[in-house]
């Protein structure tokens, strides 16, 4: 990799321009990746990383610019051409058909046949064999709908390898993975690099960039603004290139917090609890117990972080608290008021705000405009007579867009047209830009860039300082550690440990998260 200058690069993109209607996603982006290296493509949301990689994988055709793969001019090729040439992409939103099996998904488009019929048995054998040699553990006969996100992602990678991919593009692959799954992914990618394959990793998590990449390309506003060698740079240098100014990274917050933070939580027992949950039992869609007799309270001016591997009841807990899922047992109080049997709207009026974990499923209506999304659930506050007061709706939108830096700043644009990070800002603006006492923040920075993470974290801290109670659920342990006053670990539907921030660390919490340790600490 070091002397790749002598041979032609695996990928060379020059001055790529790609627009969607009036929005210029790539305005002269370039990328060069040597063979056999892991290259990190970083940038803020909306910087044009995904678009550039979709151009490379043939999903989009650029208006101008030149594309070379292995020194061959491939400008404007199709998905099929890209697959034939060994370029495979694993998308952020999985491109798997949930009703089909793993083997069927892997062979889709390249079906194995025997006498005109699908040869399922052979497909399953080949997938099992590929799974064994790559270490990507999957069961070929299972339906994709029944897989966990981690497994689904392994299927995606297998799918590209099955098609003979020598150049693998991964779009934010860790956004949905737990720490052990991320470790596994790094191992697999490392092995692929050792076999001489080329990997492009789209990400904005700088610890990942530092951990796994060899070289880095930084994009900003659709342009390439920097090319760095990982061993010669630092996270803050990359972050600066990404946003064009100095940013505070989450890691720095930790020390800052521990020096000034505990003052609030030390008093928490004396302070009134804004959210009190007692003996809560909730079942999941399959009617199995998902939340198992959970009791906790959050004081005014406190952030309680819930750590844990996804799928241990966090989703059901949040939905029950938000009023989206019926409960089997227990009670919920907001500011001493019993809200156990209240509707979502009534809970909202009682002072509850909710940032849902899946902004597409719960947080937004993608076809609606930004302005309309900003009043969802509060539309009754924006009426004149029986109709919506459009002026006030737009006025509110402009204010929120400004306050939360939503880009592009157009209240009429459908939410679908915005990048993931800006969509998330709409949700945050709606839920935090109004009166509330208790905030449920689920994965508030999932799939969001550094600049936006910094902003959202600052908002959460400001809310705490203003005396709100915040329940933070995140798959990102670093985020939990950076923000929380107390940390509870959820495993198998139970809160298996609750520790004050000062006593918490990845080492302390890890065993509880994997179920290796049980029982309450502190």
């Amino acid at each position: 990799m070091a002397d790749s200058g002598s041979q032609s690069p695996a990928i060379r993109l020059t001055d790529i321009v790609k627009s969607f209607g009036p929005v210029l996603a790539n305005r002269g982006a370039s990328l060069e990746v040597a063979r056999g290296e892991i290259h990190a493509l970083v940038g803020e949301n909306g910087a044009g990383k995904s678009t550039l990689m979709r151009v490379l994988s043939g999903m989009y055709v650029a208006e101008s610019g030149r594309m070379e793969v292995n020194a061959r001019d491939v400008t404007g090729w199709s998905t099929a051409d890209a697959i034939d040439a060994g370029v495979g992409m694993v998308h952020q939103h999985f491109m798997l058909v949930p009703t089909l099996t793993v083997a069927e998904n892997v062979m889709l488009g390249r079906e194995l046949t025997k006498g005109g019929q699908l040869d399922r048995a052979r497909a399953e054998r080949e997938v099992a064999e590929l799974s064994r040699t790559t270490g990507l553990a999957v069961r070929p006969e299972r339906k994709v709908a029944d897989l966990s996100v981690g497994e689904a992602q392994r299927v995606e990678i297998l799918k590209t390898l099955y098609r003979g991919a020598k150049i693998l593009i991964l779009d934010e692959p860790t956004a949905v993975l737990s720490p052990p799954e991320i470790e596994e992914l790094w191992q697999v990618l490392g092995q692929m690099r050792d076999r001489g394959e080329t990997i492009v990793l789209i990400t904005h998590k700088l610890d990942e960039v530092m951990a796994i990449s060899d070289t880095i390309t930084v994009m900003r506003h659709g342009r390439t603004v920097g090319r760095l060698r990982t061993s010669d740079t630092t996270p803050s240098e990359i972050a600066k290139a990404m946003v064009g100014r100095d940013v505070q990274l989450a890691m720095n917050y930790v020390s800052e917090e521990t020096s000034s933070g505990p003052s609030v939580s030390a008093h928490s027992s004396a302070v009134e609890s804004l959210l009190a949950v007692r003996d809560l039992v909730v079942t999941n869609v399959r009617r199995l117990t998902a939340v198992d007799h959970v009791t906790f309270a959050i004081a005014a001016g406190e952030i309680l972080g819930i750590a844990g591997v996804e799928g241990n009841g966090q989703t059901e807990l949040l939905e029950a608290l938000a009023g989206l899922r019926p409960i089997r047992n227990g009670s919920i109080h907001i500011s001493r008021r019993d809200v156990t049997n209240l509707s979502v709207k009534e809970r909202g009026d009682a002072g509850l705000s909710h940032i849902p974990e899946d902004r597409h499923a719960r947080g937004l209506i993608l076809e609606y405009s930004v302005a309309e999304n900003l009043i969802l659930g509060q539309q009754h506050r924006f009426t004149r007579g029986i109709q919506l007061d459009r002026d006030r709706v737009l006025d509110n939108a402009r204010k929120q867009i400004d306050a939360f830096d939503v880009r592009p700043a157009d209240p009429q644009l459908p939410a679908r047209a915005l990048s993931g990070g800006n969509q998330q800002k709409i949700v945050i603006a709606r839920e935090m830009g109004r009166e509330f006492q208790v905030l449920l923040a689920a994965q508030p920075t999932r799939g969001v860039d550094v600049g936006a993470i910094e902003f959202i974290h600052a908002q959460l801290r400001a809310a705490r300082s203003a005396g709100k109670a915040i329940l933070l659920v995140s798959a990102d342990l670093a985020e939990i550690l950076a923000l929380s006053d107390r940390i509870a670990v959820m495993y198998g539907g139970k809160l298996v440990a609750t520790v004050p921030r000062v006593d918490a660390s990845a080492e302390v919490l890890g065993p509880y998260m994997t179920g290796a340790a049980t029982g309450h600490a502190a």
Binding site: M95, V97, T99, L100, G109, T113, L118
Partner: protein, 293 residues
């Protein structure tokens, strides 16, 4: 003997449903709503009668029927795919268009506002409902074979796998190089072809075309598609069930036991019950009615 007559009559009524519902299944599994089935059937019945009349052969009539059904299905598909028309609106428009067109050409070709002259068909006219009359109609056999072939096509062939992927997650299909639009055009054409055979069956059974002779059978077939949860075999069973209800209604017409209108309601009532989730959950293809990009 009464039971046998009942079954024979049920099968006779079920055949047009079987063809059209098979077309409905393939169309909807590819993501195209089967609201145009009624129109494809009627177009098939008319074009089949015309081709049969002028050629003197019911077999050539069948080819004419298929051409008529496929033409309407492709019109629907082009409007829905190429021009991104709303599938519900386009589907309803196709049905209305075919009613108008067939009436217009009926008058032009045969100078009648109600029906065509006698055309060659299958089986003797008014041959009754006996087994011999039934078995001598090749469309009966073709209808039964169609169900088996559709099951094989959908679940055992690469084309079927691509159809299912296209109806569930078109973006995933596109990402692996499948030309989703082409799959949808093919599925639509197949759907039009199959439904038109159902229409041709009606015309050839009566040895004439009469205006609006499909009388809502395309919608019952769509109901069977949904009631059968988008599976060729289950949809065929639903067709038989609906046909049995029709037969029962005919038999009950003489008696004053139950008002026949209640029996006529059975297919629709069953579909509503199915959609309400009583008989297992009816989950349509995820991309049904959506534009693929």
């Amino acid at each position: 003997m009464i039971l046998f007559a009942f079954l024979a009559q049920t099968l006779r009524i079920a055949i047009p449903y079987l063809f059209a519902a098979s077309g409905g299944v393939i169309s909807e599994r590819a993501g195209l709503i089967g609201l145009g089935l009624e129109g494809y059937m009627l177009s098939g019945a008319f074009c089949g009668a015309v081709a049969s009349y002028y050629s003197g052969s019911a077999w050539i009539g069948l080819l004419g029927a298929m051409a008529g059904g496929v033409a309407m299905a492709l019109l629907y598909a082009v409007t829905a795919i190429r021009f991104r028309g709303d599938q519900v609106v386009v589907g309803i428009a196709i049905n209305l268009l075919v009613i108008g067109l067939t009436r217009f050409f009926l008058r032009l070709a045969f100078h009648s506002s109600s029906n065509s002259p006698r055309v060659p068909g299958f089986g003797a006219e008014n041959s009754g409902t006996g087994f011999v009359a039934l078995a001598s109609n090749p469309l009966i056999w073709l209808g039964i074979i169609t169900v088996a072939v559709m099951g094989w096509l959908l679940y055992r062939t690469p084309f079927g796998l691509r159809v299912r992927a296209t109806g569930e997650h078109p973006a995933a299909a596109i990402s692996v190089g499948i030309r989703v639009d082409r799959i949808r055009y093919l599925a639509a054409a197949l759907s039009g072809m199959l439904a038109s055979l159902g229409g041709a069956y009606l015309a050839f059974d009566q040895h004439q075309f009469s205006a609006e002779m499909t009388a809502g059978r395309g919608f019952i077939a769509l109901a069977a598609t949904i009631f059968g949860r988008w599976d060729p075999l289950r949809a065929a069973l639903a067709c038989l069930l609906f046909a049995a209800a029709d037969t029962l209604q005919i038999q009950l017409q003489g008696t004053q036991l139950i008002p026949s209108q209640f029996v006529e309601m059975i297919p629709y009532a069953l579909t509503i019950i199915a959609l309400a989730g009583v008989v297992g959950r009816a989950v349509p293809p995820a991309a049904l009615g959506k534009v693929a990009e």
